[in-house]
C-alpha cells in the first residue's frame, strides 16, 4: 500500500514564525502536491513538484514556498506565518493520475 506521512498531525505557531511542514512518500512517486483545505472552499492546490528540485505554483502559492531535495520528500514552508494560514494542510503523491494523501496537518497560527 502507498504510504504518505506528514511530520505533524497538529501544530500551533505564532504570527511571524517560519513553519516547516514535511511530507514523505514511500512509493517512488514522481509527483507530489501540497493542498490546503478550508470549510466551504474545498481543496486548493498550493504547489506541486513533478521531479526532484522541480516545483510549480498551484492556485494559491502566495505566502508559501516548497523544497524537494529528494524524490520521497516534499516540504512546505511558510516564510512568515499569518493567521489566515490557519488551515488543514494535505500532502499527496502520485505516479500518474490517482493521488494518495497523507493524514493532514492541522495548523493553527495565533
Amino acid at each position: 500500500d502507498v504510504k504518505v506521512t506528514q511530520s505533524s498531525r497538529y501544530l500551533v505557531k505564532r504570527t511571524g514564525e517560519k513553519v516547516f511542514l514535511e511530507c514523505v512518500q514511500d512509493m517512488d512517486h514522481e509527483n507530489m502536491f501540497w493542498y490546503r483545505q478550508d470549510p466551504g472552499l474545498g481543496l486548493r492546490l498550493i504547489y506541486f513538484s513533478y521531479d526532484v528540485k522541480m516545483k510549480e505554483k498551484g492556485d494559491i502559492p502566495e505566502g508559501y514556498s516548497v523544497s524537494r531535495e529528494k524524490k520521497e520528500r516534499f516540504s512546505l514552508i511558510l516564510e512568515s506565518a499569518s493567521t489566515n494560514q490557519t488551515s488543514m494542510y494535505l500532502c499527496a503523491s502520485s505516479f500518474i493520475h490517482e493521488q494518495f494523501f497523507g493524514p493532514g496537518t492541522r495548523l493553527t497560527v495565533l
Binding site: 514522481e30 474545498g42 506541486f48 488543514m88 493520475h97 494523501f101 493532514g104
Partner: protein, 114 residues
Amino acid sequence: QKEVEQDPGPLSVPEGAIVSLNCTYSNSAFQYFMWYRQYSRKGPELLMYTYSSGNKEDGRFTAQVDKSSKYISLFIRDSQPSDSATYLCAMSADSGGGADGLTFGKGTHLIIQP
C-alpha cells in the same frame, strides 16, 4: 462557472439505503475521474478511479461516468454508519504523467443513520 459542482449536503439516509452522490463538470477535456472518502480530521482516501465513460464496481461501491452529460456518480449499496464521511469527486484532463494535478469538487457530507 465553477469547473466542478458538487452538492455539499448534508445528505442523511437510513442504514441499508442506496446512496447516490453526484458531480457535474464543465471541462469536456476531463477524462480521468476519481472518488475520495474523507473522514473527519483525516486525509482523503481514494475509493474509485475510472477512465472515460462507463461503470466500475468495487464491492458495495459503483462509479458511473457519463461524459456526454458531463456527470459522474458514486452509488453506495447497503449503506452502513461507517460510510458516514465527506465524499469528494476529482477529475483530470492530463494525458501525460499526472503532474497537472486534479480538480476537486468541494465534497458532499454523507450521514448514515443507524
